[in-house]
């Protein structure tokens, strides 16, 4: 039986792994279907993690040492996809995996993060991967010397617009409001970039494409006017959906209490409504969706898990 099972290998899961193992739990597995690192590895630049001051530090380079650090203290990484976490009668948990095998654990830290949302315009799903993308560092390369459009107006949209503006001849930002909620410093840099054109009060209506993929997009403005933009690449940054699937039970209910948005309700110590089960990072209520706060959550949950395992082991 594991002392602790960690589901997910982003900043929250990795920090939970570091703190549980370094804090004395012997048998801890972090389940992550591939190489750990999380969503930040798709980010072109990280400049808001305290102490990480290297110029142009990519999310991927930033995350490389995290796993190595955890493994030094005995964290095991299992490359399996967890399909469900269930609770047993004795209060322990069963981790169900996609290959049909299971593990049991005294405590579970869920750190499954979130997935980029689709914006919901016509043709988005049809052309996903054929011109519609949610990762500028991955796919910007295919639009070198071409024009691209970005859907969204948050931090990610602004930061990735700056990245794409260095590769592409022109970047259109299609934003449904007339104000931005991104960091003022980033907005200023976007406005100062000559090859970025901002379309405010504008929503994507339909992707235009042919057999080879996207050729452009039709945009509709609040006043009803439309405009066609000929760009082979469309990058969608309109927020994220939380990955709560592992908490869904056979009867369709959730293992613990959730809010209407599908986020896990936790207290300030990352306790869920189920003893021994913790939720961290993007998955929890009121998540700031930042690497530093996800890492903080991971440490808080780990300290709770250590105390919990200690308590039930000496009962």
């Amino acid at each position: 039986m594991l002392d602790c099972a960690i589901i997910g290998g982003g900043p929250a899961g990795l920090t939970a792994g570091l703190y549980t193992t370094r804090g004395g739990l012997d048998d801890v597995i972090m389940f992550e279907k591939g190489m750990p690192g999380g969503q930040i590895t798709s980010s072109s630049e990280i400049e808001n993690y305290p102490g990480a001051t290297a110029h142009n530090l990519s999310g991927m380079d930033f995350m490389i040492p995290w796993l190595e650090q955890c493994q030094r203290f005995g964290l095991k990484h299992e490359m399996s996809e967890v399909t469900r976490v269930s609770r047993n009668e004795d209060g322990t948990f069963t981790i169900h995996k996609s290959d049909g095998s299971t593990n049991t654990a005294k405590s579970v830290i869920v750190a499954t993060g979130s997935t980029p949302k689709r914006a919901g315009f016509i043709g988005e799903d049809k052309y996903f991967g054929r011109g519609v993308s949610t990762c500028a560092t991955c796919d910007g390369f295919f639009y070198k010397g071409k024009e691209v459009a970005i859907i969204g107006g948050g931090d990610t949209a602004m930061e990735e617009a700056l990245y794409l503006a260095k590769i592409c001849t022109k970047v259109y930002i299609i934003h449904r409001r007339d104000t931005f909620r991104s960091a003022p410093n980033t907005i200023e840099r976007v406005k100062m970039t000559p090859n970025i054109e901002i379309l405010l009060n504008a929503s994507p209506q339909e992707v235009l494409g042919d057999a080879m993929g996207v050729t452009g997009i039709r945009v509709v403005f609040k006043d009803g006017l439309t405009r066609q933009i000929d760009a082979p690449g469309l990058f969608v940054f309109v927020g994220r959906d939380v990955n709560n699937q592992v908490l869904i039970q056979d009867d369709g209910s959730f293992l613990c209490e959730m809010n209407d948005a599908g986020e896990v309700i936790v207290d300030i110590s990352m306790n869920t409504s189920v003893p021994g089960l913790y939720a961290t990072g993007d998955l929890r209520i009121a998540a700031p969706k930042q690497v530093v706060s996800a890492a903080g959550d991971g440490s808080v949950a780990a300290l709770q898990a250590i105390a919990y395992v200690d308590k039930i082991s000496h009962r």
Partner: protein, 105 residues
């Protein structure tokens, strides 16, 4: 220990023309590509002698990427006897890739 095959313009056809092949289009700067890299290595071991598990570095082999209309990475194409029969875009679990290959064998 099985090893994946690094495909280039010169060996692509030769390797994919017979049997089942999984071809992972990736690049060094792509986070999700890096995420599935160890999965691809395990698949190469699991399917040794049964299917060809291959990778194309799209940074170095742009002609192959253009030929197959690759615009997002990772994109994973599945070939059977030289014909492209299926594709997956984005990172997925080892189980998902395994099931897909088994369905073609």
């Amino acid at each position: 220990m099985g090893k994946y095959v690094e495909l280039t313009a010169s060996n692509f056809e030769e390797i994919t023309k017979e049997g089942v092949a999984l071809v992972d289009f990736w690049a060094p700067w792509c986070g999700p590509c890096r995420m599935i890299a160890p999965v691809i290595e395990e698949l190469a071991n699991d399917f040794e002698g049964k299917a060809n598990i291959c990778k194309v570095n799209t940074d170095e082999e742009q002609d192959i990427a253009v030929k197959f209309g690759i615009r997002s990475i990772p994109t994973i194409l599945f070939f059977k006897n030289g014909e492209m029969v299926d594709q997956m875009v984005g990172a997925a679990s080892k189980q998902a890739f395994t099931d897909k290959i088994n369905s073609l064998l």
